[in-house]
């Protein structure tokens, strides 16, 4: 079976500094990989590279169409959350339910707290229906209950043949393979 994400001998430099060299990585259906490492070790760059938003200096990156949830909201601030999510399409209702955003779907995006905004970004990725999720610091600003909801959503996604690549300082739980950058 072809993996959903594959790095082959990938080298990436940013700002004149080499972040990683000859990195190999393969993520198949049902697999979850957590990237850890100190600040500035290239976790976010790895996520953007996997999304195709950065080009590798050398090596090859192959991917299924991904869904990305990073630090950028990418939702129209003047719209209610439900409408703003709808712009990006997909199964918005299910995503809103998965992250417990039902009560907020009529609230304008600009009024969301940082934790609620993070949940909205994750909901956008969940709604997309992509098999490959790329999550950058998914637990930032999330409370315990929301983190559990995210865990359940990830478990569902993996059970349905999806794959997840996440960069996070915090432990994401059992079932995650861990890769350390910057050593």
């Amino acid at each position: 079976m072809t993996p959903l994400l594959r790095f082959e001998k990938v080298t990436l430099s940013r700002g004149g500094r080499q972040l990683f060299e000859d990195l190999d990585l393969s993520l198949g259906a049902g697999e979850a990989l957590q990237v850890i490492g100190p600040n500035g070790s290239g976790k976010s760059s790895l996520i953007r590279l996997a999304a195709g938003l950065l080009k590798a200096d050398r090596g090859k990156v192959e991917r299924a169409p991904p869904a990305l949830a990073d630090d950028n909201l990418a939702l129209d601030r003047e719209l209610p959350l439900g409408k703003a999510l709808q712009f990006w399409g997909g199964d918005v209702g299910r995503a809103i339910e998965a992250l417990g955003l039902e009560d907020l779907s009529a609230v304008p995006v600009r009024l969301l707290s940082s934790g609620q905004a993070k949940r909205a970004m994750l909901a956008r990725a969940i709604a997309s229906g992509s098999r490959l999720w790329l999550l950058d610091e998914p637990l930032n600003a999330l409370d315990t209950a929301s983190a559990e909801r995210l865990n359940d959503a990830v478990a569902d996604h993996l059970g349905g043949g999806g794959a997840v690549l996440a960069a996070s300082h915090q432990p994401l739980g059992s079932g995650w393979r861990v890769m350390e950058l910057g050593r």
Binding site: A51, G52, L53, P65, N72, A74, E78, G89, R124
Partner: protein, 205 residues
């Protein structure tokens, strides 16, 4: 996705300050008789040129809102991940920009022509010239917005870049050489999405 993007940009344009460039356009037209004096013959003669200058500056006003907010907020990244090529994004933005300012401008040209004592024949001529020229102007504005996105003081830089590039449009538009104006407008409309697309691609960091 293209239709959704155009719809969104038009909605944002109108919910923002779409009337502001138009008000600016009318203000310029209203100020000229005060500056030149109420000589109807003189005003009627320079009217079309004044309207072109006003239209040019009005098209420039929203340039900072066209691309930069979407870059900063990750919307461009997400559009790319939804399978839109950068050139397609730029084309969608140009169409949406045209829809938000050109129809209003064509309407505003009617009271503006009265302020400048232009007769109905020269009003009809300038309406046609604006209709032909504004697609090129809108495309150029999007291209400049993409080139300057993310730079400090992008607004003033955008003005310096856009105005000289719009000069051919101004010359042929104001002098009434419709085929040449159409050619310039077509060239800008066709070329700008590629310039804007390449700039958006270069923004990815």
């Amino acid at each position: 996705m293209m239709g959704a993007l155009i719809g969104r940009d038009v909605r944002r344009g109108f919910s923002g300050a779409a009337w502001l460039p138009i008000a600016f356009f009318l203000f310029v037209a209203a100020l000229v008789p005060f500056a030149i004096g109420p000589d109807a013959r003189l005003l009627g003669r320079i009217g079309p040129g004044i309207l072109w200058i006003a239209a040019l500056t009005a098209a420039l006003l929203p340039v900072e809102r066209l691309v930069e907010p979407d870059r900063a907020d990750g919307v461009l990244d997400q559009l790319f991940l939804h399978g839109m090529a950068e050139e397609t994004i730029a084309l969608g933005k140009a169409i949406a920009h045209w829809l938000t300012f050109a129809p209003l401008l064509l309407v505003a040209a009617i009271p503006a022509s009265a302020l400048l004592a232009m007769d109905s024949a020269s009003l009809a001529k300038i309406e046609v010239a604006l209709l032909v020229g504004t697609p090129g102007l809108a495309s150029l504005a999007v291209a400049i917005a993409a080139v300057t996105a993310g730079l400090p003081r992008a607004g003033s830089l955008a003005g310096l870049l856009l105005l000289p590039l719009a000069v051919p449009l101004l010359i042929f538009g104001a002098s009434g050489s419709l085929p040449l104006e159409a050619a310039v407008s077509l060239l800008l409309t066709a070329g700008a999405p590629f310039v804007a697309g390449a700039s958006i691609r270069a923004l990815k960091t």
